[in-house]
């Protein structure tokens, strides 16, 4: 049974603009957001996941995106160092909650930006880490040293896909779903060299945050709006659960951003 960390969207809203998706003028519908989040929660429960809820905090609207809380490997939790001051206040709440739940906290040096599972995803024996918009490449080295694993650092070049989990989604069979244009050519080559099979997502489907999917064995929970990807995944034997995510996409997040694995891997 996979354990997941979620955060209810009680204080969620577009209160600042730190990525190209966010528009305070447009805002998010709170009631619709609640409904969409509850549907995600229910879907994950149905998939036999154990869900932990971290209490939401006033004035920290993006705490709902728990993938950015940090990275959990075994019983070790590496908290994020958020690049934007708007989100920096989330880190102590997540760290305290994880510590209270028995996780060993391994802080990165303060001067290294790292945004957790949002920019760090295991595939095969390597931890793929995105850098430039949110995480620094220097943090990858530190994470690699802490975990003693191979880290493949890839540069993200499209500000709309500012976290790795918005454009890259590893699958348990060793393949991965990705949107290649979100990476520079070296990043693309590095991924191609280390991931045996890649499923390309079309630009119009990538815009629906299709890569931002939660993979629970053969079940994949992803935002609606990617029929071609769903068909490709079906052909590989996966069951897709398509959910409306419109209110979270307005903040630049979807299913995966709203979820953190506890742990992502038992060991590195």
């Amino acid at each position: 049974m996979r354990e997941l960390l979620l955060c209810p969207p009680d204080y969620y809203g577009i209160e600042y603009e730190i990525n190209p998706w966010m528009s305070r003028a447009r805002g998010a519908e709170a009631a619709v957001a609640q409904k969409q989040w509850k549907e995600l929660h229910a879907t994950l429960l149905k998939l036999d996941c154990q869900i932990h809820l971290v209490p939401p905090q006033l004035k920290l609207p993006d705490m709902v995106f728990t993938a950015n809380a940090g990275l959990t490997v075994g019983r070790r939790f590496i908290p994020s160092n958020f690049r934007h001051k708007e989100r920096a206040g989330e880190a102590p709440h997540f760290a305290r909650w994880m510590e209270e739940h028995g996780y060993e906290i391994s802080w990165l040096p303060d001067d290294l930006y790292f945004e957790g599972e949002g920019d760090a995803l295991f595939s095969g024996d390597a931890l793929f880490c995105g850098y430039k918009f949110r995480s620094d490449i220097q943090s990858h080295r530190a994470v690699g040293e802490m975990l003693g694993c191979l880290v493949i650092s890839v540069e993200l070049v499209d500000p709309r896909f500012y976290h790795l989990d918005t454009c890259f989604c590893p699958l348990p069979d060793g393949a991965a779903v990705w949107f290649p244009a979100a990476f520079d050519e070296y990043g693309q080559r590095a991924i191609r060299e280390h991931v045996p099979e890649l499923i390309d997502v079309l630009p119009e489907e990538a815009m629906h945050f299709s890569c931002n999917a939660v993979v629970i064995e053969r079940d994949i929970v992803l935002p609606e709006g990617a029929p071609k990807l769903v068909a490709a995944l079906f052909d590989r034997g996966y069951t897709c659960h398509e959910l409306p995510m419109s209110e979270f996409i307005k903040a630049g997040g979807a299913c995966k951003c709203l979820t953190m694995f506890m742990p992502q891997r038992v060991s590195a």
């Binding site: 390597a126 620094d136 490449i137 690699g144 191979l150 650092s153 070296y186 990043g187 590095a190 280390h194």
Partner: protein, 415 residues
Amino acid sequence: MFSETIELRGHIIDSLILPKVLDQILTHGANFKIAEINIGKKRADQSFARIEVSAETSEALDELVLRLRQHGAEVAKPADAQLAKAPADGVFPSDFYVTTNQQTFVRFEGKDIEVRPAMMDSAIAVDRKKRTARAVKFFDVSKGDEIVVGHDGIRVVPVQRSTSGTDVFQFINTTIDADEPKSAIIRELGHELQRARATKAKIAIVAGPAIVRTGAGQHLVRLIESRYVDRLFAGNAFAVYDVERALFGTSLGVNPDLAFARGGHENHLRAINTIRETGGISAAVRKKVLNHGIMHACVRHNVDIVLTGTIRDEGPIPGVTTDAVEAQKVMREKLADVTHVLLLAALQHSLAVATMLAPTVKTVCVDIDPSAVNRAVEHQPLQSIGLVTDVEPFLRELAGCIAESDAKPGDRKET
């Protein structure tokens, strides 16, 4: 050239960060040298690379390094240079750093200071208060001066070979032996001197007595009259030979125009006496005692004459610096802004001058002795041409080419 050492750590091979960084250096028009690389042995092992990055300007380098930092490059912090106090006047501390004539920087309190002037076979004195570094000779150093010792914190930036191919010095850059054709090269040199004159560069001639004795003086006079010479370095003997030739038609008793001459050797001493009597070369010209010849042309065309003495000198004539240390100082000072030097049949003088030149000075050495040519040009490996030949045909052809193309500049093909 400006350079910085960067370090890359992590899984830089698997992530292709190393090739990305190297590619970025090249696409930004900069260069790199991998100083050290350590590749992780096991899959999880991180790798390390230390890379020297160099760019044309400090701004370009800063911008590039800033970009590379995004990909994890860290600027290596080199150690400061070690300093020790000079134990006495004229004595360097042991293990003092010996300079080359290349552009050199000293790391002091975390910053690079350029050593000025770039002077070979010197030590480096650092002034803490002014935060300056200068190359110093033995006679320049006083007890307590802080001198760089060891090799830490020293960065030498060699002159880069140009790839443009438009500069005769950079695409010939060799010694032309006695049995090789020289006309084409002499013509190119003529064009280079014309370009130099047009850009207000400073041309110096180091002249040996063979110029006078072979009858090449008249060709040098043509160059002086056409304003291709800004400064003339020579010994007492050269000046006296030229004066003797102007006054008596002989040089060291030999008339280049006749098979023999009356008066013989004594003309040499009479010439010295005449110049001593008039008070010097300029005075002799002013008083119309000296009415032609190279020294006369120099005075008439305001060429700076730098005369130094040797132990064998007769006289010497007034204006010759006979103190060897003082002569070195004067020569260094007068060579500081020179851009082009022609070392003409003056072995000892040429070697002395060659050791004082900045690495960017374009140097031509002409001598009939191949070893003299090789010794003189070895100090300027990327900016020199040596010609093994009698100086008279060289000067005749050079003056002829220049006169010809000065007369019809439109016809000259740009090379």
